[in-house]
Each structure stands twice: as structure tokens, then as C-alpha cells.
Symmetry: C2
Subunit: 248 residues, 2 copies
């Protein structure tokens, strides 16, 4: 019961970064039953309309959450990276309202939703930490509505690049000035509500203007400040915790 399950240590670290946890809280988190699996792109975690039974913790790789509209177009509504919880949302609601799918090969720890619900209310500290995760996720959704609704192509793409760079750095996975972006231009398009063709032109323009320099599927940010300005990016909506702003 109380034994160590190293797979859940990233989860513990994540929760503890926002709310102080005592020894019992930590033990309870690490004792959560779980199964580790590796998924490939196309192997959905959950599909819209299904019942989600597990919540997933990303151990490596990237995951997207998306919706399909009437005409068949896809809109990505969230991107998750190592250390993120994927789908506290679907897994707490009765029926999934969107699809969840790996973007890259992804190692994931699945935790049964009932266990998570239980620990959430049995251990208020853990509950507050989970609540916080949900709230920050909500904040990101709001920012995305604004991004897609009221920014032009260049701003949208720049904003997405900033968000991913910032989150990667905040998670200790990369530096904002040089990170891997494992998304095709098609996928970027579906995240920012544009066409792949237009995303291509926009990325090339950012490059030409010296804000970024791309090589295959990684992005080097040549000038973070200018990119952030171009994307109207401010990290406030990510509700950063302890660490101050990442090195620019």
C-alpha cells in the first residue's frame, strides 16, 4: 500500500509544487493504483461520447485533445506534455465531450477515476492541488478562445509557440530559446484555427523576420521578447507558481 511507485513521482512533484503536502498526502499519492502504457499516435485515450474511466499522467511525449465539427474540421483544444495530467476533465464527467490522442509516442500512467475522486476529497491538500490543475487548465482554455477569436494569424501562431516554449521551460523540459515542437503544420493549424497552408506562410514569415529559426520540427526562438510581443503573450494566464519568469 504505502510502497513506492516511482512512476507517480512526477505527479507528486506536480501537485506539491502548488500546494504543500504532508507525508501522508505524499504516501497516498504514490500509492495510487495505476498502469503504465505506451501509446502511439492514433491510439485514442478516449473518444467523444465514450465514458472515460481513467485519468492519464504523461510520463513522456505529447498529447492533444480535440473536437470535430460538423463539416469535419478538427479543432485542437489543448496540448499536453510530460508531467501534465491529461483529462481530469473527461474522466470526472460522465461522458467525454472531446477526443484525446497522443501526438507522439507517449508513455502514460493511467489512474482509475474513482481513486482520484476519492483521494481528492479524502485528502484536502491533494484535492486543492488537483483543483488548481483544473483551474489553470480552464484559464488556458479561456486564453485559447481569445487567441482563436480575436488574434490574426501571426499573433495566433506566435502565441502558440510562446505557450509551448514557456510551458516546456516551466516543466524543466527545455529552454524557451530552443525547444522541440513535435507538431506538423497541419496540427498547428488545427490548434490555432487556420489552414496548414497559411500556417506554413506564417511560420516562414516569423523566420524571415528573425523571430524564430526553424529546422525540421524544432523551433529555435531567436528573439523571445519579439516573439512574445508578436503573439501578445503574457504568462499570467498560465498562473506560474514558485519560479519567476523563465530566462528570456
Amino acid at each position: 500500500m504505502g510502497q513506492n511507485h516511482p512512476a507517480l513521482e512526477p505527479l507528486l512533484a506536480r501537485l506539491a509544487s502548488r500546494v504543500a503536502l504532508d507525508a501522508d498526502d505524499c504516501a497516498a499519492v504514490l500509492a495510487l493504483p495505476h498502469a503504465v502504457r505506451t501509446l502511439k499516435p492514433g491510439e485514442h485515450f478516449v473518444r467523444e461520447g465514450e465514458k472515460a474511466t481513467h485519468c492519464a499522467l504523461m510520463l513522456s511525449g505529447f498529447t492533444i485533445r480535440h473536437k470535430i465539427v460538423a463539416r469535419g474540421a478538427r479543432q485542437i483544444v489543448a496540448i499536453h506534455m510530460t508531467g501534465d495530467f491529461v483529462d481530469l476533465q473527461n474522466s470526472f464527467l460522465a461522458i467525454a465531450d472531446h477526443n484525446v490522442e497522443p501526438l507522439t509516442a507517449a508513455k502514460v500512467a493511467f489512474v482509475p477515476r474513482e481513486e482520484l475522486r476519492t483521494i481528492m476529497f479524502d485528502r484536502p491538500n491533494v484535492g486543492r492541488a488537483l483543483l488548481n490543475e483544473l483551474l489553470v487548465e480552464g484559464s488556458v482554455f479561456r486564453e485559447w478562445i481569445a487567441n482563436v477569436g480575436r488574434r490574426d494569424a501571426r499573433e495566433r501562431v506566435a502565441h502558440l509557440l510562446c505557450e509551448i516554449g514557456y510551458r516546456l521551460e516551466a516543466a524543466g523540459l527545455a529552454r524557451t530559446c530552443d525547444f522541440e515542437l513535435p507538431m506538423t503544420q497541419d496540427q498547428i493549424a488545427d490548434a490555432v484555427g487556420l489552414t496548414a497552408v497559411h500556417v506554413n506562410r506564417t511560420l516562414m514569415a516569423l523566420d524571415a523576420d528573425g523571430l524564430t529559426s526553424r529546422t525540421k520540427r524544432s523551433v529555435k526562438v531567436a528573439d523571445w521578447q519579439r516573439l512574445a510581443d508578436a503573439g501578445d503573450f503574457s504568462e499570467l494566464y498560465l498562473h506560474p507558481v514558485e519560479s519567476p519568469a523563465p530566462v528570456k
Copy 2:
């Protein structure tokens, strides 16, 4: 302590509709300290960057939550009506990431955030109900991202009309076939990521096509099914509870 505060009865009803509450739960909810106030358009509840100290329960009227982007454009990210909680989000996070403002004159009960946090974890039933509210709100955000990102003008506007009509009916405030929509075309535009001019043309087209019939600021839905089809609207994302789909 345990005495009745009739103002919070809508809150109790709302919570009880999703999770069974026992007598103590109910008493605790009704005993929450609160202050009732009436706000007018322009009197913000909270502004981005401020610290929210209270959570608001709508007793009457409409409220919007919005963000302002670099170029000064506004994006509405949520609309709230009688019976809704406004801003569990801002009030649980340290710093507000968006603005909250009445759309019409609005009567509101303010509950201190600490009280709400406390009851959330002291009374798991209440906690689950609040969690559910948050999750459904999150689902609506996701739908809005898809609406603004991947639907054209007609679909967006029709979808918004359907959402509002459906929610009003679900809350027992109106029928989907005839409800008051207290938004100017400017505000509708800011909710769906279009221009007021284009919203005007779109609304007129819906009218001309016999899906709606407008008079000043109320909407009569002439053909709910066609409007729902035009807006790619399905109530799944609202995670309706007990009552089946509203009368069409």
C-alpha cells in the same frame, strides 16, 4: 448559523441537481455568509490582474467574462445567467486572468472565496457538486474554442443562440422557442469572434431563412431543429443532468 438564507436557495438547488446532498450539506450551503448586491453594466466584478476575493451567484440578470487582446479587441469567453456561479475560476486562483462584468442589471450574491473553499473540502458532496460545475464550465470553454476556431459565421451565431436558448430552458427561465437575448450585436460579435456588422448580416440571414424571427432584443426560434443543425449544436457538451432534452 443553521438559519435560512433564502438568497442562497438557487445555489442549493443547482448543487443538489447534480449530486445528492444530505440535510447537513444543505444547511451548510444555506449558512454560507454572503452579501447580495445589484450591479449595473460597467461595474466590474473583477478585472484581469486583480485578486478576486468573492465568488458570485447570479440571482437575476446576465454576466459576461471577457479578455482584451493586444490590439484592443475584446473576446467574451463566457456568458452567465440566473442561477449560474460566476467565477469559481477567478476566485479560486490567486490572480484573475480575465474580466467579469454584468451585461444587464444583475442581482448577485457574493460568497467569500475562503468559505467556499472550506465547504468544498469539508463536505465532499458539496465539493463534488462544485467540481461538477467547474468541469461543465470547462466543457463549454472547449466548445467555444471549436466554435470560434472551426465554424463559419452562420454556424457560430446559430450555435450561440442554441446554447443560450438551451441553457435558459434547462434553468427553467425560458423556452428554447422564445427567449430574451439581452445582448447587442456588438456583444454577440465579441462572443463569436466576428464583427458587429457581420453578425448583423448573419442574424438577418437566419431570419430570412426562417430559422429565427427577431424583434428588438428577443429571439423567437421559428425552427429549433434547423437552427441546431445550422449551428452544429448538440447539448452533449453542456452535460445535461436529470431532465431529458428540452422540448423542441
